[in-house]
């Protein structure tokens, strides 16, 4: 499929059905990118670290759930997978991160990259190179819900619905629960938080647990549509990072909008570029943002300068 | 001859006016001191002068050029060099190498010449090395040439950083709290050193809290408070200035 440029007639035949398909695909992927970005932001806000292994949590969620589904019903498999991912997230923090004393940014970047490779290779050896997917939660891959000319799979609703619920729960958690407020305090000023008796070390672990959990759940819910493979994580990490930067690093509300924007742009790019270049589009957007406005569309330029890099 | 002319310089950080409409000038061959309580904007002013910060408005005229929009390396190339309030030597490099960096602008060997190690570059390196050793001898720290810079005693590090700035062969030397952390004897020696430097023809602008040093060697003093200039005069007049006394109420004169 060489793209629409080689078939000029197609340009004139873009109709509602095609448009809506691209849109829906964009929204679906965009939602996942946004969840990955929120995961980045949670850890970044608590620690100042960019966790390059973020994408691996999504991959692990899907892969573990698929394996567990062989021995337990779907909801239980998903729940167990998410819990296991959260435990892995906690273990990563405790084993690799907790005991480091003021590590440099460069060191942290390389460590998390190493962790991401380690998880990837472990996944390769456990599950091989094959692609896997959970079954569609409701119906099959041919079930559609039709609204006029627009046909969408119910799984799309599962993706957006689950993500919306996760975002709502996170917002509630950070705004109204004591633990959430403690995490925000820790993110705003770690020393002051410690002086108030908040265990900052536990807050850091909690941030990893939360990021892993939402990533894993996203991985489960999107796997019927996109399939997962041992190396699905890296691409997601780059795109999730792009979204996080686009919205302003640390700003999860903006990440949602930014995720949808990236998903839609990427989706529509298939219209003019060969599909093989879909990833090139999102990376080019990343580079563009980094060169022009690294504080993101919604971030404040001064605030981004103040963060130590 | 006026070597530095600062006019209506402004710099604001969010809600704080760090430097507000500051104007003064420095005469060539003199020693001018910049004093004021903590937070008065002195280091910010230095950062503006040396190009590390862009001003919001105002001009900085150095000899014949307007330098307020230049990068630090361009300002240095014009003949202004500086030291830092918190010593910024190059760790993992010897004292001699730190001084040799100061000679960077006065040597030429580039990438290609460096990789090929051409004969003229070797000669140039030798010259740079000798000149740097001379500077260290002038400052009395030649014995530490091959010691790692940050393992020197604090007072020696201050002198080393001064040497590095001198190696640039500046016309104007900005010294940011050269006596900070030095004891009385070391401070007196620093004062003598700065005078000797001025005697070689280099103009000195210094920020300092130690009043004995300031009053002893300065030809003129500028006083800042909350980013505003409140006085600009000879040392004796500054000591009698009521505004200055008010700002320093409770501190030693």
């Amino acid at each position: 499929m060489a793209g629409a440029l080689s078939r000029p007639g197609l340009l004139y035949h873009m109709n509602i059905e095609l448009l809506s398909q691209y849109l829906v695909a964009g929204l679906t992927y965009g939602t996942i990118y946004a969840i990955v970005a929120i995961g980045f932001n949670i850890i970044y806000n608590a620690t100042g670290i960019i966790n390059f292994a973020q994408g691996e949590f999504v991959m692990l969620g899907g892969m573990i759930a698929v394996s567990l589904h062989h021995i337990m019903p779907l909801p239980a498999a998903i729940l167990a997978a998410v819990l296991m991912a959260m435990i892995i997230g906690a273990l990563i923090e405790i084993i690799f991160i907790r005991w480091l004393v003021s590590p440099s940014v460069l060191r942290m970047i390389i460590i998390t990259i190493g962790i991401s490779i380690f998880i990837r290779e472990a996944a390769l050896h456990i599950w091989g190179e094959s692609v896997r997917a959970l079954p569609y939660f409701t119906g099959t891959e041919v079930t559609v819900i039709s609204i006029g000319d627009v046909h969408i799979s119910p799984q799309v609703l599962w993706v957006t619905g689950t993500s919306a619920v996760m975002v709502a729960l996170l917002t509630f958690f950070f705004s109204y629960t004591l633990l959430g407020k403690q995490m925000r305090a820790c993110a705003a000023n770690r020393d002051a938080a410690r002086l108030c008796g908040i265990s900052t070390a536990n807050m850091v672990t909690l941030s990893f647990v939360l990021s892993a959990g939402i990533g894993a759940l996203a991985g489960c819910v999107v796997s019927p549509i996109t399939y997962v493979q041992y190396d699905s994580g890296t691409g997601l990490a780059i795109k999730g990072f792009t979204v996080a930067i686009l919205g302003g690093l640390g700003n999860s509300t903006a990440a949602i909008a930014a995720g949808l924007v990236l998903g839609i742009l990427e989706s529509f790019s298939v219209w003019v570029l060969p599909t093989a270049f879909k990833d090139v589009v999102s990376i080019s957007i990343l580079l563009l943002i980094l060169f022009v406005r690294p504080s993101g569309i919604f971030g404040s330029v001064e605030a981004s300068r103040l963060k130590e890099f | 001859m006026t070597i530095l002319e600062v006019r209506d310089l402004n710099k604001r950080f969010g809600g704080l006016q760090a430097v507000g409409d500051v104007s003064f000038s420095v005469q060539q061959g003199s020693i001018k001191a910049l004093i004021g309580p903590n937070g008065a904007g002195k280091t910010t002013l230095f950062n503006l002068l040396s190009g590390m910060l862009p001003p919001d408005s105002g001009t900085i005229r150095f000899i014949n050029d307007d330098v307020q929009r230049l990068q630090p390396y361009q300002v240095a190339a014009l003949g202004m060099s500086r030291t830092f309030q918190h010593i910024r030597l190059f760790p993992h490099m010897t004292a001699l190498e730190n001084i040799m960096i100061g000679r960077h602008m006065h040597s030429k060997a580039g990438f290609i010449a460096g990789m090929l190690s051409l004969p003229w570059t070797r000669k140039e390196e030798k010259t740079v090395r000798e000149r740097s050793l001379d500077i260290m001898a002038f400052l009395g720290i030649a014995d530490f040439a091959d010691t790692e810079a940050t393992s020197l005693a604090y007072g020696q590090q201050r002198i080393l950083e001064l040497g590095r700035a001198l190696a640039c062969e500046p016309k104007l030397l900005l010294l940011d709290e050269p006596a900070a952390g030095l004891n009385m004897r070391e401070t007196a020696e620093m004062a003598k050193l700065i005078s000797r430097i001025r005697d070689t023809g280099i103009t000195v602008l210094l920020v300092e809290h130690d009043m004995s040093l300031v009053m002893n060697i300065s030809d003129e003093i500028v006083v800042l408070s909350y980013g505003q200039k409140i006085a600009d005069d000879k040392p004796l007049a500054i000591q009698k200035n009521p505004e200055v006394i008010k700002v320093y109420l409770g501190e030693e004169e």
Binding site: L290 | S81, F90
Partner: protein
């Protein structure tokens, strides 16, 4: 006048010859193949070591430059211009030897670029891309710089993977040998195996010589000052932006040359040479070698790449480098072969010598 900095270079030259003779004596001449390949990978590593260790800039996309060099040269030396040979530019090029007449697999006549010209073009393209990318990228710091270089490497990977011009997933093959001089050719032919070993390691030797000179020169000093305190370096009149860019381009050229030569030696190149895993591997080797230790990076690169090429790591190849990276960064972030370790060893040895001298 023997300068101490050239002693390791001389030892290195000696070892190169010694290893080759050893393989001949022990009838292990087949090792020469992997050793030759290791040499070309070493070019990438020493260039990267300058960038990361001396200028302090991380690059997680350097395999991209290796691939640009390799693919450019591969493409130009295999793309058949014979259908266009009537056009004036093409025929002039052909007459002056810039284009060569090569027999393809089916005995037909093809017109392709002279490998020398292809090599120069590949390096030129690399320099251009490195300058264009490096300018904005090097203004970034920390995470942003790492991600930008990672993104660059990934773009190169996706482009060569997805373009049929570049052979897509299969890459380009049947790359002709590179005749450097009459009698000296870079190619995988077993008959000239020894010659190719020396070409490869000769280039590495030359590279080490040039870089050792650079480190000990005015530029090397400036780079180290930029790495340790960039603001102060700037205040001393060093145009830090331009220096960082130049060292970035230099390291890219080293990588590209490695790519060009290895492609001719292997007779082909595939998209995996541009992958993130390769880039990470290069960074891991520089890290374990000591960040700012050129000889450390070289020796670690030789050992690890050779073992990897011989298949000692099996299917855990990528995992090994990932684990190395983690362990080094956790426990020895300055790298294993730190200069301090060597200085300490030297001091200890000379202290013992003194004591013994006193006893006697």
């Amino acid at each position: 006048m023997v300068r101490s900095r050239y002693i390791p270079v001389a030892l290195f030259a000696f070892s190169i010859i010694a290893v080759q003779l050893l393989t001949a004596l022990t009838d292990r001449a087949q090792f020469l193949t992997q050793l030759t390949m290791t040499g070309y990978y070493s070019l990438v590593i020493i260039g990267l070591c300058m960038l990361i260790g001396y200028a302090g800039q991380i690059s997680l996309g350097h395999a991209g430059f290796f691939a640009i060099g390799g693919y450019a040269s591969a493409f130009l030396t295999t793309y058949n211009l014979a259908p266009h040979k009537e056009k004036p530019v093409i025929s002039i090029f052909a007459k002056t030897g810039l284009l060569l007449n090569v027999q393809d697999l089916y005995g037909g006549d093809t017109l392709v670029f002279n490998p020398w010209l292809a090599c120069i073009a590949a390096v030129a393209v690399t320099v251009l891309i490195a300058y264009v990318i490096g300018g904005p990228v090097l203004k970034l710091k920390g995470h942003y710089l790492a991600m930008a270089t990672l993104g660059f490497g990934t773009i190169v990977y996706k482009v060569v993977l997805g373009t049929s011009f570049f052979g897509a997933a299969d890459g380009l093959s049947d790359i002709p040998g590179f005749r450097l001089l009459p009698g000296l050719e870079v190619s995988g032919k077993t008959s000239i195996r020894i010659q190719n070993y020396y070409i490869s390691w000769g280039m590495v030797l030359l590279g080490m010589l040039l870089l050792t000179n650079l480190i000990n020169s005015r530029v090397g000093r400036a780079l180290r000052s930029i790495h340790s305190a960039e603001d102060a370096a700037n205040a001393m009149g060093i145009n830090t932006g331009r220096y960082k860019l130049n060292i970035f381009v230099l390291s890219a050229v080293f990588a590209a040359l490695g790519g060009v030569f290895l492609t001719h030696y292997n007779g082909g190149i595939g998209p995996s040479e541009a992958s993130i895993m390769k880039s990470v591997r290069y960074v891991a080797i520089v890290a374990i070698g000591g960040m700012a230790n050129l000889w450390g990076a070289l020796s670690m690169g030789i050992i690890l790449n050779f073992l990897s090429l011989r298949g000692y790591f099996g299917s855990y190849d990528d995992a090994v480098f990932g684990v190395i990276l983690i362990l080094i960064m956790l426990f020895a972030p300055e790298g294993l072969l730190r200069r301090e370790v060597f200085r300490g060893a030297k001091k200890w040895l000379s202290g013992r010598g003194k004591a013994e001298g006193q006893k006697a």
